[in-house]
Symmetry: C2
Subunit: 724 residues, 2 copies
Amino acid sequence: MMRSLALLLAAAVPATAAVAAPPPSAEHTRSYAPLFAAEVEAAKRDVEASIRAGINVPVPKDPGGGFTHEQHKRNYRIIFEGGQLYRLTGDVRYRDHVRDLLLAYAKLYPTLGPHPAAANQAAGRLFWQSLNDSVFLVNAVQGYAQIRDALTPAERARIDDGAIRPMAKFLSDGSPEVIGRIHNHATWACAGVGLAGYLLGDRDLVDKALLGLDKSGKTGFLRQLDLLFSPDGYYAEGPYYQRYALMPFVVFAAAIDANEPQRKIFDYRGGIVLKAVRTAIDVTHDGYFLPINDAMPDKSLRTDELYHAVAIAYAATRDPAFLSIAEGQGHTVLTPAGEALAADVAAGKARPWPFASRLLSDGPDGKGGALVLLRDRPTATGPLLVVKNTVQGMGHGHFDRLNWLYYDETGAVVTDYGAARFLNVEAKRGGRYLPENDSWASATVAHNTLVVDEQSHFAGDWKVGEKVPTQQLASRLDGPTRYSIAAINGAYKGVAIRRALLLLDIDGLGNPLILDILRGTGGGRHRFDLPLHFSGQIIDSDIVFDRKLAERPVLGTANGYQHLWVDGVGSAADKAAGKAARLTFMQGNRFYSYHMAPPAGARFILAESGANDPEFNLRRQPVLIQRIDGTDSATFVSLLEPHGSYDASAETVVGSRARVVGLDHRRLGDADLVVITLAGGRRLAVAVADNVAADAPHSVAIDGTAHSWTGAVGRFDLAKGGAK
Amino acid sequence: MMRSLALLLAAAVPATAAVAAPPPSAEHTRSYAPLFAAEVEAAKRDVEASIRAGINVPVPKDPGGGFTHEQHKRNYRIIFEGGQLYRLTGDVRYRDHVRDLLLAYAKLYPTLGPHPAAANQAAGRLFWQSLNDSVFLVNAVQGYAQIRDALTPAERARIDDGAIRPMAKFLSDGSPEVIGRIHNHATWACAGVGLAGYLLGDRDLVDKALLGLDKSGKTGFLRQLDLLFSPDGYYAEGPYYQRYALMPFVVFAAAIDANEPQRKIFDYRGGIVLKAVRTAIDVTHDGYFLPINDAMPDKSLRTDELYHAVAIAYAATRDPAFLSIAEGQGHTVLTPAGEALAADVAAGKARPWPFASRLLSDGPDGKGGALVLLRDRPTATGPLLVVKNTVQGMGHGHFDRLNWLYYDETGAVVTDYGAARFLNVEAKRGGRYLPENDSWASATVAHNTLVVDEQSHFAGDWKVGEKVPTQQLASRLDGPTRYSIAAINGAYKGVAIRRALLLLDIDGLGNPLILDILRGTGGGRHRFDLPLHFSGQIIDSDIVFDRKLAERPVLGTANGYQHLWVDGVGSAADKAAGKAARLTFMQGNRFYSYHMAPPAGARFILAESGANDPEFNLRRQPVLIQRIDGTDSATFVSLLEPHGSYDASAETVVGSRARVVGLDHRRLGDADLVVITLAGGRRLAVAVADNVAADAPHSVAIDGTAHSWTGAVGRFDLAKGGAK
């Protein structure tokens, strides 16, 4: 039983709010809530400008960022907006403009072959990659659905048969290598094909979208729901693509729910669609998606995909926390779901989003490791320790097992480069991923995790990495000692890596400390490098660096090392035994001291990205590398301490000196013990046991006193400045 | 006739709003406007915390950023705030806390000698430089004045004689080398001494503050008003110090007006105090002070100095444009002037600040050149071309005659490094100016102006520069062709430099173009370098650079060149005659193409600051240098074209390609003619005559057609793509 797509999204809001297409001649006079009214006005400006400019449906020629690319993008937006405006206002000018655009496509589309600017991606017809063709269809169908019943049968037939159905055919039967994948490109294709199928009443298209071209269920939308998200709604490729992929998932799910409510699609796999929306919001800081894997760091919740997702999720759940996200977005969608959401925002029903620590399992079965988010307060901008213990993340995944990032009120502090790409900037290779995305951005050394022998994990082969999960051994998401303990065996042949990362709230310190205990164990003699990529200006260090002041060499020759300019090399040789090394930098209005108790013989390399970059494709960002040579195993213990503040307006600085004055690591029995000493002599011990079983008892003697705990991590306040 | 200082600032507001100190026992119950109420609340939090913490008046020890430095700064703020709170609330706890603080200073101060951390600045007693002692006194007197009448005679005597008078004596008779200067440090000293004099009824102190230690008027506050500001209210050291100096000028002026209204201080020298406030607001972009000369680029109108200045200026003028500045500040002062301003903001009386082009003459007589601000729209964030044709700017001045900067909605595009300093960050040499401030930040090559033979202007001797004005030859501040033409002779021996900078509004382009015609004329054979310091990421260039990809040399050995890493060197040799070279970069969400029609034989050097920087004191920022060797004279013609936009949310890019496709320079008779060709063939000619007399007629033949104009600059639309 197919219903008009004009009702599709309406079905996701309560019956009382459901809106049938208005009689075409009636001008609506109802008043909109501000959030929705602004969208209506913006859409009117867009569509009116398009009406004035006239129909422009050019023969496809340019890659991303070029004129024809952008014009076809504009056109699908106009079709979507014009259709919604017609629904809202009944103004036939909108209907006629959308119709004329679609008729122009119906004339052009059948004449097209593969796009002339197609590169190594699957070629589209309107765009250089078929992905954009799918996005076109998802948008165009939603706009067309609003006017279709108001066209003449001849017009309808021309558009159906000249544009919508051929597009759906191209993206289904015509592109088996795309739609048959378990991948976000396939989801967009399924959504376009499925939406077209519902609109045209074409069961065959719908079934192919839902179940794959062979309708076996081995591919298709439902299988993607099974395989692309973990049970916690984490999308395999990471937050950036989670955002991007979300739109076809939620829009198609809403359409399925409207057309085939008996499928209970929002309950499918434990409510995976809505979990995916919630998780998408959780994997942000200050509204920006965490840029792990291939990711543009400027992508935020303020994107079209999330406007749709939030409106649809709110319609499905009525959870008022979605309303605060919508307030932060400052936008919603032109659909009935958007209108209902805006009304509730205006009614003051919003509640804060409950940001909290999360362990997001990875892999379809949740056994591929996890993305761990440790937060110590329920805010969008507060401290956030991100630990990347996921699987590879497919072709867009980076070689960064056990990587960590740190964010707080100043923004990104311990950073991920993200992708080397200038999205849609034509001069930068058509806006595609750049060569430096492989040679630098995805390399292990571009991340904050162990590099062995200057190689990337899995020798830089993502297909190998895809088969090797990370082992999430233990975690604690609440209390003053939050942590993640994980291990990866197989990133390097014969080398096992285990890492504990802890977010420690300390009485009397305004900011948490981040403690890192990383152990690499392998046969043979290796070079171990542990980079810290940070943002900000170096303030000072107690390491004596041999500075490269007047000629700047490159650190290495391959695997990302060729992109690092060396600024200086220092050693720990001048450090008294047990004395940590420190680098202090300033980021935003805060200071950060990175304390290191590295293994004996460690050296420190200060470097900056940007070498061997002929096209100026890289940003230049600092990195500190702890290096050990000729070792078969080593433990790196590091502590990041945020402290103090710089107030440019008041011209005041407080706390520019680190409070941590000592960081001492000892191996005691089957545990690592770290003693942190604060200025004034206060001492704190953290013990991490090899055996992480929750009920395993452990005990260590510190300064002659026995301390015991149960489970992976113990924490003790010690007597002031006792003998070691 | 001395009046209580409790009334001083009140006198600057109308009589009805004037507030006498309340009866100490009465709690005020009036309601404040939000802006003022927030200040009262913030002050209560500060002072209550200080009351809880108890009196802490440590023996001075630390330089800027250290504990005793910051504690004494906190204390003067508490004295100021506590005094005002007592006036507003009558709560004796505030009175007693301020009293106890002052009594502690009365005990400590007489025991102090020169500050132990004094460096090359004049030593203070409480602080490492006496400047901070002056600031202490200015604040402390204002707070003390509010409680003084409510103290016992014995308490009053102890504070007067142990703290206030000795401080005033130290800053006057005790520091003749400071207060006797014509310099902002002296203004602060005068304000402190004068305020103390009014409060204590000490005519001698007041006269010394107004007229200098010898009361001759050759130094002192009035002489500073004569000499430190140009007739347009431009402060000799530049915007950053204008901001800083403003506070003692306005606070002391308000006190003079309250105590000696017959002086009509606000009318002095044509109303120079209020002109200085208005000019301070004009020399900002997006609220941030233009960072010419020694300047921290993070300083904005959101500073205490400007809260005072705006409140006092509004009280004196009732110009509602000040209210919109206060709205932008989001703060005001705790004085009656601040309360009155807040009330009018709340009453909706604010009007936008009329940002406009300005020619701010420099030098006490206005004949030292000018700072030229060219704006094409009346907004705080719109396009702003800054041309620095001023005198040296004293010891904080940079060697940057004829320098230019460009700002627009994306922020700083063509940049000034500002100062090499981390204000108040103790680890950075106590927060003082760093060695790199001399070796890099003030050097000519760190600016966007001509460098001859790798030397700085005036051989880097500011005292020489101070004697040589810049000649502001012509300007136009309105219309579609705004410009400045100026010259400097004497920056280099035997070399005359003349530069025209034009802000061109072009029909059909959303952003103005900036045209630069710089001519250096000298005897002998010289190296001419013209740098462009810009912010953003390089997108592409049509110059073929010999890139320094794997080993990065330094550009030179002295005068700032030692701080530049070379990224690449290119030549114009592969350019067809008359063909310009282009570098495109992206800053914020906009593209910028820099087109160059350099002299024959020019080379292009891409470099970055940060070499020879052992303490990581420099930010790393890109620069493009146009270079000519072995020439006696040369003309550089360059054009900056802002274009297009990048929208991360919508994932769209438009206009990433430059619209300017040709830039051709010819010398025709006694004029420079530049022809700009846009994509599509449209051509525009700009002619700049040597003779800038407003009534001088000029004529050139272009493509066989005569074009004539009167005055310095002519502009003509040419036929499309005509023969050259």
